[in-house]
Symmetry: C2
Subunit: 236 residues, 2 copies
DNA sequence: GCCTCTAGTATTGTCGACAATCCAACGAGA
DNA sequence: TCTCGTTGGATTGTCGACAATACTAGAGGC
């Protein structure tokens, strides 16, 4: 009975945040998504519904609904009467992923330049500094992730943010799968991030665009270095 | 028993396409998505599960799974214990949608210029011509849709294509909702499309980028013309 | 020895029913 | 007359069970 009065109060004066009750499938999707991104669930592995349902303490109904959401995001692939499988990160997919990231982040950067690039540049500098200080304590790559997530969120575009979130999940998955070839470029990345942030402070939209494109190209080169375009174990 | 031998044959020689049996939730999602895109289901309306399930001849289980997919795409919003509602196209959302479309299509165009822009330009010219001939017979906007879908598909990027597909669904929904203010710019659009296609034939990447950006800006201006940023009936 | 066919097993796909929650209408009291 | 509490109806959320399908192991025949 308290919900009605609370809602009405929120309607009259918007000081208190309305209680948003996340749906169960959404929570399940978040959990499983996190497990995949953090490498807890290996790429290519099958997700047994019964096991997962037991593990999460829910029935198979809500579980399947949450997993459908991840399938829509492209994180899982569904084969009828066979089950759901986590995607494997082939070099082609890494390349395509970074192409999409480039599209999203460059658009976000352009939009920031149309708004308040100086404030954005300051915020980015801040996160770089904080992350540099806390580096090596946390896992590798969190600084990278944090920077790019902030970059896109500063564009204040719901759709770009949603797209980027999906792509960052895949990126994190990729980082864990190829951890050895990722850690090397840590210092390089920080430097590139700093240059990008500075270009915002300088209001140099063209430079930001070039730096971002180069940053992405570097990343995809590092990740696919020494790997052929077709991995040894590929399944249909 | 024929499936095993068929699959083995497909594995050895890839002449015949393997039988891909689409999952039921996926088919349901396609149906409902189409119904929303074509305006058959009004924006803002609630989707009653029991009715839809009866209408599609399936149980509520698979139906809910398919609807979860549309929720992940951002086409529906879920309110716990209340139901699923089709999103409403406010001017802000239209603007954001076209921002995302700009990001995707410009990236696709850039990638085409890295590949074979002349062939792509030819293909685009072809679809423009075919659509100009069959115009006014089909509904408004199909030429526009067709052109942009072909443009992105020519980039041969799965992720860009998937993102674009989602955005085009929203675009179609928007067109039907604002049909009156859309039909006017039909001739203008064809002209702009032709210019874009020609820029591919001329291998002028910078021009393509500028034309695409302008094309998007025009579209969003036409669609939001005369409308305030906040519609009279807005719900939280 | 190799291939083919045949159960057996495990998993997914689907359905119906029950429980929980919410909205709207109605009536009682200040 | 306005506000509050209550009841009724309808919808969503969740669960368990059944049916359908695909992989695996083993026996039999060539």
């Amino acid at each position: 009975m308290t919900t009605r009065t609370a809602r009405r109060a929120a309607a009259t004066r918007r000081s208190m945040e309305p209680v948003v009750q996340e749906s169960t499938p959404s929570m399940i999707a978040s959990r499983v998504r996190e497990a995949i991104a953090s490498g807890h669930i290996a790429p290519g592995s099958q997700l047994g519904e019964a096991n997962l349902a037991r593990e999460l303490g829910v029935s198979r109904g809500p579980l399947r609904e949450g997993l459908q959401r991840l399938t829509a995001e492209g994180l899982l692939i569904s084969i009828r009467n066979r089950g759901l499988f986590v995607i494997e990160m082939t070099p082609e997919r890494v390349q395509d992923m970074y192409l999409a990231r480039q599209a999203v982040e460059r658009a976000a950067a352009e939009r920031i330049h149309d708004g308040d690039p100086v404030a954005a540049g300051g915020a980015l500098m801040g996160v770089i500094e904080v992350m540099a200080r806390a580096r090596s304590a946390r896992g590798e790559g969190v600084a990278d992730i944090e920077f790019h997530q902030l970059l896109v969120s500063l564009a204040a575009s719901p759709r770009l943010s949603r797209m980027h979130e999906i792509l960052m999940t895949e990126t994190r998955m990729c980082i864990h799968a190829l951890a050895d070839s990722y850690v090397h470029g840590d210092a390089v990345r920080v430097e590139e991030h700093t240059a990008i942030a500075r270009s915002f402070l300088d209001r140099d939209a063209r430079l930001t665009d070039e730096l971002l494109a180069a940053h992405m190209t570097d990343a995809v080169r590092r990740l696919t270095a020494g790997r052929s375009t077709a991995p040894p174990s590929s399944s249909a």
